[in-house]
């Protein structure tokens, strides 16, 4: 079984995205996990939502194109897009190289009603790999 880095300073969503508080109340950065990044393969393009767009939990807000697949980014929470990671426009490979850092995808302002209770801790997200077949 391949082991994956799952930092415990953030929340996780079952669609293999993470959310990390920026320090400003209500603001979170969102990215994809190392597991997702490995599954996708070489990432070629990230379609970012525009600033000001509203995103809804469970709805696609963008897409990641790799050399293997195009995958929708399904939002873990509801909120408003503060900015997309402009670095990715010309350097989508940052998602491969540093998915928990420079390869973040969007910064969102959570809706007041948004609930983080449905998200997973690093431990619980990590335990999922016991029942998911490892990356090919």
């Amino acid at each position: 079984m391949t082991s994956f880095n799952i930092p415990d300073d953030r929340h996780y969503h079952e669609a293999h995205l993470w959310l990390k508080a920026t320090g400003v109340p209500g603001e979170y950065d969102v990215g994809i996990t190392q597991f997702a990044q490995k599954q996708l393969g070489k990432i070629l393009f990230v379609e970012l939502p525009v600033t000001g767009a509203t995103i809804a939990a469970g709805e696609p807000f963008g897409a990641v194109e790799s050399n293997k697949i195009v995958s929708d980014l399904v939002s873990p929470i509801s909120g408003t897009v503060l900015e997309g990671n402009a670095l990715l426009r010309n350097a989508a490979h940052l998602v491969n190289e540093d998915c928990y850092g420079q390869g973040w995808i969007v910064r969102v302002k959570l809706d007041p009603s948004a609930d983080l209770a449905g998200l997973l801790t690093a431990e619980i997200y990590g335990s999922r790999f016991a029942r998911i077949s490892p990356a090919r």
Partner: protein, 470 residues
């Protein structure tokens, strides 16, 4: 021997002439311009010549990725590009002339008009045939407030005549012509901004097709402004300003107006013959393409049914067969394929998913991403997919939608199946050659029927949802 007179020598008119003469009719073909129509002279053909140069240029730019070293400068030369399409257009035009000569079609160069229900006047002569086909086509639509002057603000007709290309351009429109020119001009180094009145490009295509097209355009730096209905264009500053009511929403050096086409139904004597048109000016026809007058047919763009050259040709053959009392096959409009030569290319036929929904059909969707195909990687063109829409209860193919390399060719598999009221199962059983883009059709059909060979197991996708195809 029946005598057929045809007004207009485009893909409706000249094909009608060829078909009628081949089946024993005496044919008079009337057109003021060289034969071939908009398709040959201002449309399909010159733009496809440009598209091919652009495809080559794009590939050369990526030569490194293909393991090729090119030294020296690579650039497009507009004058030479025009020279190439002018030569090809001229050669194909000669071909049509020869075809007409081969079939002893009498070609009259002049502007023909109906004088009454059975007579056409052209130049100083009159023609009194047994039946008439009106094939006068269409022209670019442009409202007066767009101030089309041909130089700074032009239609597709004008653009092909420009002596140089601007540094930047606004393209007003979101359909086939707008999108094709956006891709061509972007490759040729023009800074392109599309202003679309709706929420997506290519609204006649399946939504998923628009998503990929828009994403590819964004990657290349083509800007698209959605939901903006331009009310006027004006010369301002050093270029053109586009207004939504009082507000300027975009500017560029020049503008291309591609907001649709309108039928050439005026000044051809319809009122003298008692032939009616609808509010759009389209000649009203029945399913046999007959106008209000027996023995006068209207086919192609002028009847407003399709706007595609191949649809015009198909309608023309049906009308000719009917006029000559031959057995005819009705054109099945649902089975007419659409080919769009954007980058990436688009091909579709039948119903989109939205149309299937509107028609209250129960359907399943199958989709296959081209980037899972070896051939797509070898081509270096991995963006795109094939999507099929299959009737849930009967398994009939309802629609096939492709975006990516060769999409305009592989769409014909779907066209044949839909034309023959065929089923997905037959497509699944058909062996598709490897390695081809057409394999995506097979995989998409397999996906619709349950499990594609090269997709993750459908029952695992829930757990592994990062691998779901968008």
């Amino acid at each position: 021997m029946k005598h057929l007179a045809i007004l207009g020598g485009g893909p409706a008119g000249y094909v009608a002439a060829s078909h009628a003469a081949a089946h024993g009719a005496r044919v008079t073909l009337i057109d003021a311009k060289p034969l071939g129509g908009t398709c040959l002279h201002q449309g399909c053909i010159p733009t496809k010549v440009l598209v091919e140069s652009c495809a080559l240029l794009e590939k050369f730019k990526r030569a490194d990725a293909f393991g090729l070293k090119i030294s020296g400068e690579l650039s497009a030369d507009w004058a030479s590009l025009k020279g190439r399409f002018t030569e090809i257009v001229s050669m194909l035009g000669d071909g049509i002339d020869q075809l007409m000569a081969d079939r002893d079609v009498t070609c009259i160069r002049g502007y023909g008009r109906l004088l009454d229900r059975s007579t056409i006047g052209v130049n100083d002569q009159t023609v009194s045939p047994d039946a008439i086909l009106i094939c006068t086509g269409s022209r670019p639509k442009a409202q007066p407030s767009f101030n089309v002057d041909g130089a700074k603000i032009g239609t597709s007709d004008d653009l092909l005549n420009w002596s140089d290309l601007p540094a930047s351009i606004l393209i007003i429109g979101s359909g086939i012509i707008a999108c094709e020119f956006a891709c061509i001009l972007d490759t040729l180094g023009v800074d392109v901004t599309i202003v679309a009145s709706g929420a997506r490009l290519m609204s006649s295509a399946d939504k998923d097709v628009s998503v990929v097209l828009q994403r590819q355009m964004r990657k290349r730096g083509i800007k698209v402004i959605f939901n903006s209905r331009i009310t006027s264009l004006s010369h301002g500053g050093s270029g053109v300003e586009a207004f939504c009511e009082e507000k300027i929403i975009a500017t560029a050096e020049r503008a291309l107006v591609a907001v649709g086409r309108e039928p050439n139904s005026r000044d051809i004597g319809l009122e003298r013959a008692g032939i009616s048109v609808n509010d759009n000016g389209d000649i009203v026809v029945d399913d046999l393409y007959r106008t209000d007058v027996p023995d006068i047919y209207a086919v192609g763009d002028v009847n407003g049914r399709s706007g595609l050259a191949h649809a015009a040709s198909a309608q023309a053959k049906q009308a000719v067969d009917h006029a000559l009392g031959r057995r005819y096959t009705m054109v099945r409009e649902r089975a007419i394929p659409v080919a769009v030569f954007t980058n990436p290319e688009i091909g579709y036929v039948g119903r989109s998913e939205d149309e299937a929904k509107q028609d209250d059909l129960e359907y399943v969707v199958g989709k296959f991403d081209l980037r899972a195909l070896g051939r797509a990687h070898a081509l270096g063109e991995i963006s795109g997919f094939v999507k099929v829409i299959v009737a849930k209860d009967t398994g009939h193919l309802l629609g096939l939608h492709a975006i990516g390399p060769h999409a305009s060719e592989i769409v014909h598999e779907g066209a044949l199946v839909i034309q023959k009221y065929g089923k997905a199962e037959g497509m699944r059983a058909t062996v598709h050659a490897h390695p081809t883009i057409a394999e995506a059709v097979l995989e998409a059909v397999e996906d619709a029927l349950g499990q594609a060979t090269h997709k993750p197991l459908s029952n695992k996708r829930q757990a592994n949802d990062v691998l779901q195809y968008s």
